[in-house]
Symmetry: C2
């Protein structure tokens, strides 16, 4: 890493997200029970670097990763064209994770928390969303409740706002579908550093408690070729979202980011079948009905 | 289809590309030897429609399609933003095909020929490129020679120009790789209608003679799990190109095109593995060396 001095906020965010990665790798490795994370440390020529930690062929996770990075430097013309504005100096640090379980009954999940500075401007972004193959109301409600609790500890308006933002962001217009059953998403979160930093760290600490009970509840459910086939089709949708719509992926690829770290999010095995339709009355048909924005907590107060 | 009157050129292109689809489906079904094409006729609300013909689980083709369409209407603001210009009236007709063979020794292939009008402007586009998993010099040379012969019948400058255009277009900058071993690509081909129409029809007629001998040469080569695994990884790159870079795909998805026809091009089963590297000295390592722009005909005059 370079000698350039960073703001006190940048250094504190850097340390917090680095610690979050360590914590997540420990907890997720424990959750998997068999596989551990392999770490790739990398440097970015323009400034900074990261640690891409991946897990594969585990007892629970077929493929997953927890990526931490802290990068800084000067935006080139291509980055400016994509981002707008004229300020070129930036600093960005964050931790992102994507987990693709093998068992089709265990939802895939994503989380990402980041801190950015551009010139004198600074903000946080982040969120977490759940992508089941065979969605269950109980899981969607539990996931949303965990994030609502985390939000409510900081601002009573956060959950409703960030839940809606998540539904709007993780949406595939060409399929008329959400990516999964949502969660929370926020970006450009400007304001006093301390309360926002506290909120984002709390979100980081919330992830395992939001996801692990769902994974543990489903991981021993028997499945066969039908469920794996449908899982691969749904993973195809995941690929479509990440490569066509995800802003972080597009920005990373367009600005010479580290390809393997950016595309770590892609599933191990994905399928496309022309004009696939679920059989009438099948569990797959029932599953597809879940991929629309729904107010899980209000619709299911007793779950 | 609507009652709106079209130019004489539009009608002739429409008929030629419709006939090309019929011809290609017949020839490719014969080449497969087991499966036939299933046709979906569709209408476009704004004007026009198409015929998406797909083949699946054949003796040769794991998944493939030949799509014909003729669409017309008025570009909305989103289309204008993407395309530039102010002229909103358009007409577009063309036939495109993508074939994903099951045997990893048989290359995947794409071809696309189209005619467009916008206001008083009119042009042709098209091309064909070969995407082997285990490239062979003999195949790359034969494929390029077929296209060079077709080009040379019309303009001695075409092949060199369209071959380079293909290398530049089917390139994944984030991987530092071409999609395959190239072929020809051209767009915005303006000029007298008759000679261009003749050239593009000749290209359409060339496709089967360019591809079938390669498929027949490789289709009975035995393969196992290693080859299928590498094929799925390479198909992952194909997905990356089509969803991140292909202009037709991006335009189609952004302008409410028929999703299943646009994404017909995606492979049946694709794989992503973090940081995958071929074993030193392996056939996979040798294969990767092919995915750079190369002048196949000049480098291998004796093949």
């Amino acid at each position: 890493m370079s000698e350039r001095s960073h703001s006190e906020h940048a250094i504190r965010a850097h340390d917090a997200f680095r610690g979050l990665q360590t914590h997540l790798c420990e907890e997720l490795s424990r959750l998997d029970g068999a596989a551990t994370f392999h770490h790739d440390l990398w440097e970015r020529p323009g400034g900074g670097g990261g640690d891409t930690a991946v897990i594969a062929d585990g007892d629970l996770f077929e493929k997953g990763g927890v990526n931490w990075s802290a990068v800084w430097g000067t935006f080139d013309d291509e980055a400016l064209r994509r981002l707008g504005g004229t300020e070129r100096e930036f600093y960005a640090t964050g931790t992102s994770l994507v987990l693709h379980p093998r068992n089709p009954y265990v939802p895939a999940v994503h989380a990402n928390f980041r801190y950015l500075e551009r010139g004198n401007d600074a903000w946080f972004g982040g969120g977490s969303d759940l992508t089941p193959v065979y969605p269950e109301i109980e899981d969607a409600v539990a996931f949303h409740r965990a994030w609502k609790n985390a939000c409510d500890r900081h601002d009573p308006a956060y959950y409703a706002r960030f839940k809606q933002w998540c539904d709007e962001y993780f949406y595939l217009p060409h399929r008329g579908e959400t990516r999964g059953v949502g969660g929370i998403f926020f970006d450009d979160l400007h304001g006093d550093f301390e309360p926002l930093f506290s909120f984002v760290r709390d979100c980081g600490d919330t992830f395992v408690t939001a996801y692990a009970p769902i994974a543990d509840r489903r991981r021993h459910q028997p499945y066969g070729d039908t469920e794996r086939y449908f899982q691969q089709l749904r993973r195809g949708r995941y690929v479509e979202f990440n490569l066509v719509y995800d802003r972080g992926t597009a920005f990373g690829l367009a600005t010479n980011g580290r390809t393997e770290s950016i595309l770590m999010s892609l599933p191990p095995l994905a399928r496309w079948e022309y004009g696939w339709q679920p059989a009438s009355g099948s569990r797959e048909e029932k599953a597809l009905a879940f991929f629309q924005p729904r107010d899980w907590l209000a619709e299911h107060p007793g779950v």
